[in-house]
């Protein structure tokens, strides 16, 4: 075991998988000699060579398109998109090709591409470095979508993603790369070394895709969330003094419906929180699923806390970000409902 932040855990996952499987290669902007703008691939080119950790031209569509071809030829590519906000030039390749290849070829062709992309706000990144576009990818049929909330989960889930023969979009909430963030930007940053999920095995382990985690248990309320918001929700619950199940979805597709509904059937109250804007956000799907599965157990309307329906603003970052205050307001509203 070692103390790792999420960057080190991701680096360790890549290292462990590359060591174990010589077909795994990395492709992306600045990932090679430099080791990535967030340092996630630091040292890997020196260790595995230029043929396995490849610096790419600034062309996300080309990175994803060529990764698909590389995967078809028996290698296992991990493509890094430097910011999730830059993934859009590659959307056609993801939607029309990567997600559909197995299906359209009657199961004869597939390409096991993993696409890593740092996402989310809270870093003063404005609208081009703060987005949470995960909902787009959950609508595709054919790609899995993952977002971890800790170093331990990041490593275990990334290893599973790379080993999966299905394509996986792996979002990394960059605000919590260096430490858990409770939503208060005025407090000093907390490092992962103070958090139990910052203890990460050095070697190989994996966390299956498709399993949510109950990170806190309580019987008054269920909070369903993922990414950075897991930590914001934990802080809000502490301040609210309610006993809540906090469920980290972890894998958005395929969704672990069972864990979610078991909790809501127990508590009868459900709050859904994510950074991405609310309308047609992933929370809408969660809310609909809970309503369909748990309607007769609900004691209050399902509450959603999410980003406003504006582009991510630079100056108003902390008004946009669904911080503790908004979660607390949501909790009050849901607990007061009769």
């Amino acid at each position: 075991m070692s103390q790792m932040n999420m960057i080190q855990a991701i680096n360790s996952a890549l290292d462990v998988v590359m060591e174990k499987d010589p077909t795994v290669i990395i492709l992306g902007e600045d990932v090679g000699y430099f080791g990535g703008v967030f340092r996630c691939t630091d040292g890997l080119q020196a260790k595995y060579g230029e043929h396995r950790v490849i610096d790419a031209p600034i062309a996300e569509g080309g990175i994803i398109g060529s990764a698909i071809g590389i995967g078809v030829n028996g290698l296992r590519p991990v493509a890094e998109i430097q910011f999730a906000d830059y993934i859009y030039p590659g959307l056609d390749q993801i939607i029309s090709e990567l997600a559909r290849l197995r299906y359209r070829s009657g199961g004869e062709y597939f390409s096991p591409v993993t696409i890593r992309a740092p996402c989310g706000g809270g870093i003063r990144g404005g609208q081009t470095h703060s987005q949470s576009p995960e909902a787009l990818f959950t609508h595709l049929s054919g790609v899995k979508t993952v977002m971890p909330s800790s170093p331990y989960d990041a490593k275990g889930l990334l290893i599973s993603a790379i080993e999966s023969n299905d394509p996986v979009i792996f979002f990394e909430p960059k605000r919590i790369y260096n430490g858990p963030f409770d939503g208060d930007p005025n407090k000093p940053a907390t490092p992962w070394s103070k958090h139990p999920a910052g203890e990460v095995p050095d070697g190989y382990y994996s966390i299956p895709l498709g399993e949510a985690a109950v990170v806190e248990e309580g019987d008054e309320l269920s909070i369903i969330t993922y990414g950075t918001m897991v930590h914001v929700a934990q802080a809000a619950v502490r301040n609210a003094g309610v006993k809540a199940d906090i469920i980290d979805v972890r894998t958005l597709v395929p969704l672990d419906v069972e864990t979610l509904t078991r909790s809501v059937k127990k508590t009868g109250r459900c709050l859904i929180a994510h950074e991405a804007s609310r309308f047609s956000g992933y929370g809408a799907e969660l809310s609909a699923t809970i309503q369909e599965e748990c309607f007769w157990h609900l004691e209050a309307p399902i509450e959603r806390v999410a980003g406003w329906e504006t582009p991510y603003p630079h100056a108003f970052e902390w008004d946009y970000f669904p911080g503790q205050d908004r979660i607390l307001a949501g909790i009050r509203s849901i607990m007061e409902a009769v």
Binding site: I25, H51, R52, I54, A56, P57, A59, G61, G62, G65, S66, A67, I68, G69, I70, G71, V72, N73, G74, L75, P77, P89, D92, Q93, S96, E97, L101, R102, Y103, R104, S105, G106, G107, E108, Y109, F110, S141, G142, K144, S164, N165, D166, G210, P254, L255, V257
Partner: protein, 414 residues
């Protein structure tokens, strides 16, 4: 005098009712363009993009230093494969008109591209076809019955009823799955070729787009990646003059040949007479050898003409002269190879007609077998549960539930 900015709207040389005019096509004499060494630099090979590599002259006589080393038997086989492709197209075009299939796309007039190139490549080379490359599937021994069953979406459909007609694949034959989206396969070919080089293998990749699709971002991504990594890949532009109703000027073909698109990246480009099977074969062999020697990618523009409609949903008489193909200066690839073989004494009109008859029977027999596995309207029908397979490697619970829901619903209706 004051100058004004100007918006240029490209216009084709002739519209319906006007006389076809191909004066815009720059042509070279057969044999006039020399063949550089495969080790030539992109600059040394630059003239290949500006001229037109041709082997067969108007009398069908092979000329110059691009004459490929093909035996008479191989050339007769090439002719047979082009005729088979054309006959296959005929049958399926008619099947669409009879309502047996939903849609079809012929490769009429462009057969030499797929057949000439397919013959010049090795079985281990991976091909990423576009939708008008049925010749590649036929050449690589995909059974006609299998191809037809795909178009029929029937119980033997390789795509399990999931794709429109002509979106074939052939895993054993190293033919990738055809996409209905344009140019998306181009970066796949480059990635595949990169992986081949990473693995230290000498298999190369090849892919095809039309003149129109060169405007897509994927075309440019592919060229950039191919150039950066010197990927062993042959990127082909089949310039058949028309992208549905827009002529090649709308893809930027008015001032520079498509073959020259690689020049800025240092990718050699070859502009070849796409209706001259011998020339197509020869330039492909050159590019393949270069790629296998570590010389990297080549861009080949095949100058040809789309003899038929874009698809069965299209009516070209609304936007181009009816007799434009007849006026196309590079003729018909089948007639040209036939003339060459007859001139060389290896073929005759009688043999040609007999072969056509025989291929017609072959195709008809395949069709009869194919429809025995079902058509769009007549059984046997595909089991609907396979709709839920292959979205992922394993069927997730949500899809299992949806499948059960559908089957239960159908049960209550029947």
């Amino acid at each position: 005098m004051t100058s004004k900015s100007r918006l240029h709207i490209p216009r084709p040389s002739a519209r319906p009712g006007e006389a076809p005019d191909f004066s815009y096509l720059s042509l070279s004499e057969a044999g006039a363009v020399s063949r550089p060494a495969t080790s030539a630099t992109a600059s040394e090979a630059e003239y290949l993009a500006q001229n037109l590599v041709r082997v067969m002259d108007d009398d069908g006589i092979a000329q110059g230093d691009w004459i490929p080393d093909l035996s008479p038997e191989q050339k007769v086989e090439a002719l047979r494969l082009m005729l088979l492709t054309r006959e296959y197209d005929n049958r399926l075009q008619r099947a669409q008109r009879q309502g047996k299939i939903s849609f079809y796309m012929q490769s009429l007039g462009e057969e030499a591209v797929s057949i000439g190139q397919g013959m010049a490549l090795e079985a281990g080379d991976m091909l990423f076809p576009a939708y008008r490359n049925q010749g590649l599937f036929i050449l690589r021994n995909t059974s006609l019955v299998d191809l037809m069953c795909q178009c029929l979406s029937n119980t033997r459909d390789m795509c399990k009823g999931r794709q429109m007609p002509v979106m074939y694949h052939n895993r054993k034959g190293n033919l990738f799955s055809v996409s209905g989206n344009l140019a998306t396969q181009y970066p796949h070919a480059v990635g595949w070729a990169m992986a081949s080089a990473i693995k230290g293998e000498d298999h190369i990749a090849a892919s095809w787009v039309g003149d129109g699709s060169t405007a897509e971002a994927d075309f440019h991504y592919a060229l950039t990646f191919a150039a950066v990594y010197q990927a062993p890949v042959i990127l082909n532009v089949v310039n058949n003059q028309w992208a549905i109703s827009t002529f090649q000027g709308f893809a930027g073909g008015e001032r520079r040949p498509f073959a020259a698109r690689g020049q800025g990246l240092g990718i050699p480009g070859i502009r070849v007479d796409g209706n001259d099977l011998l020339a197509v074969y020869a330039v492909t062999q050159w590019a393949a050898k270069r790629a296998r020697e570590g010389g990297g990618p080549t861009l080949i523009e095949h100058v040809t003409y789309r003899g038929g409609a874009h698809s069965t949903s299209d009516d070209p008489t609304r936007y181009r002269p009816k007799d434009e193909w007849q006026a196309f200066p590079l003729g018909d690839p089948v007639e040209r190879l036939k003339k060459h073989l007859v001139n060389e004494g290896h073929w005759s009109d009688e043999q040609h007609e007999a072969l056509k008859e025989q291929l017609k029977e072959t195709v008809m027999a395949a069709w009869k077998e194919a429809i025995s596995y079902g058509t769009m309207t007549e059984g046997p029908m595909l089991d609907v549960s396979i709709m839920f397979d292959d979205v992922y490697e394993e069927v997730p619970q949500q899809l299992k539930d949806q499948c059960e829901e559908l089957i239960a619903l159908k049960g209550t209706l029947s």
